[in-house]
């Protein structure tokens, strides 16, 4: 099945309560698949085509504010529209899931795949000092698996979580084992697990207020500090990454998502030519596996960052490596997906 279809199946299977979205290529199969599967007739999950992306993200704000597992999916220009809502969710500490199946930009750009929303995703994207947990799937299997993971992390930390995919992973078909079916949580379970949720006040506790607005700067600073402490905790505990063929490697390719898949092939080809190179694949883009990459760089001769953008993750890699090894970037832009051989050529240039 397609990556997009896997997302739709996973939403239903992980007990999501609602999907709110607006169709856009290359991810329209998500809402199409949900419409075909009709989960409102089985699990009771709501599937709603909103009037715009702005409406969709605010429906997520509302649903998640009531402790529900709700999700929206879109592609780059649509996710740009959602940034206000995401910033408000981060400010009010609301746990929603956003999927971005990226396409090339800027503006309406192209419908072809791209990874040029890395900055937007990992830097928060909207106004204010905040971060969104960002997961980067590199296979249809991970598209399916990361939906439940994103919900789990979002609720664990009361923070928006994003699945940053792209047109390659969304459109391609692969073998996939769908996650086990979990029932939707009952109202009682939600009340117990989400004491902060705005679901009606029993006499036993004060009113739950959900807002990002605070006019007293001292209070607002304290709230920001608390947010930063939470982000530090996430950095300390939730970093995920994967390494391949690293033990004997002289060189490293760092790549995420679809670029990591292409880089795997580049590594096969380069090794046939006698170049010892391994793959470092960040799975969480925020929090970024800084320490792990820093340690790794100490023992390597050079690092190539392969991305489908003009050089975004390379900044995080340079910060992490901090001079331990030379770092170069290779990327294609505007919807052109690099071929494995191009990355091998870039690697050879780095070695020279």
């Amino acid at each position: 099945m397609k990556g997009n279809e896997a997302i739709a199946h996973a939403c239903i299977r992980c007990g999501a309560d609602g999907f709110f979205g607006y169709p856009i290529t290359p991810q329209s199969e998500i809402i199409e698949t949900l419409a075909l599967l009709k989960p409102w007739e089985t699990s009771g999950m709501v599937v709603l085509q909103a009037e715009s992306e702005v409406a969709a993200i605010n429906m997520v704000y509302g649903g998640a504010g009531a402790g529900k597992r709700v999700i929206t999916t879109s592609s780059s220009p649509g996710v740009a529209l959602m940034q206000e809502g995401i910033s408000y969710m981060a400010g009010a500490e609301i746990p929603g899931v956003i999927v971005n199946v990226q396409r090339g930009g800027p503006g309406l750009g192209t419908i072809q795949p791209s990874q040029s929303d890395y900055f937007q995703a990992t830097r928060g994207g909207g106004n204010g000092d905040y971060n969104v947990i960002v997961l980067a799937p590199a296979s249809v299997q991970e598209m399916a698996d990361f939906v439940d993971l994103a919900f789990t992390l979002a609720f664990k930390y009361r923070n928006p979580a994003m699945i940053l995919s792209d047109g390659v992973i969304g459109q391609m078909m692969e073998k996939v084992v769908l996650p086990p079916v979990k029932p939707r949580r009952t109202e009682e379970e939600i009340a117990k697990e989400c004491p902060w949720a705005t679901i009606g006040r029993p006499k036993s506790r004060p009113v739950n207020i959900m807002t990002s607005l605070e006019l007293k700067p001292e209070v607002m600073e304290a709230r920001n500090i608390a947010l930063q402490e939470k982000y530090q905790k996430i950095r300390d505990t939730e970093v995920r990454y994967e390494m391949e063929q690293m033990e004997d490697a002289d060189y490293v390719i760092v790549a995420f998502g679809s670029a990591a898949r292409i880089a795997e092939k580049s590594i096969e080809n380069a090794r046939e030519q006698g170049i010892k190179v391994g793959l470092f694949r960040p799975i969480t883009l925020w929090p970024f596996p800084e320490k792990e990459l820093h340690e790794l760089a100490k023992t390597k001769k050079g690092i190539l960052v392969a991305e489908i953008n003009a050089g975004q993750m390379v900044q995080d890699v340079r910060l992490a490596v901090n001079g331990q090894a030379p770092v170069e970037h290779f990327g294609r832009l505007g919807g052109i997906v690099p071929e494995p051989e191009e990355i091998v050529e870039a690697l050879k240039k780095l070695i020279k």
Partner: protein
Amino acid sequence: MKTEIIISGFGGQGVLSMGKILAYSGLMEDKEVTWMPAYGPEQRGGTANVTVIVSDSRISSPILSHYDVAIVLNQPSLDKFEPKIKPGGILIYDGYGIMNPPQRKDITVYRIDAMDKAAEMKNSKVFNMIVLGGLLKVCPVVSTDGLNKALFKSLPERHHNLIPLNMKAVEEGMKIIEKVER
């Protein structure tokens, strides 16, 4: 064993569905598969192409620089993908509308006049299955058994009555594909 295949032709020729059926057949035989379409403006009229990889082990990139097999169904596809076949690889083309036939000597070239055959069978829709039959004859990535199973699995039940016709087209394709001696 891993086979990396590109299928390319006009939008509407059934290029993407041919790839899909091939991928499903691989799945039926418990192989690893990826199916990566060009989903852009190609789908809406120009040339369409799809990369299908069928393998016994884990597949890395769904996007490739070079292919073991190229199936090209129009001149622009031939021009684009002939240079991207690995030395020793296979090129399969339909002669219909081809002005400049393949030139490379380091690959094996097969011609399959599936367009004519489909016309003869009075069903243009089985064109892609004829081509697929040709592929399986010269490069048996999957068995016809697996293919048959894949059709049952991937087609909605209301179309299952068409499967024998499709399998007939596959057989015809196996008969008419011929090596181009140069």
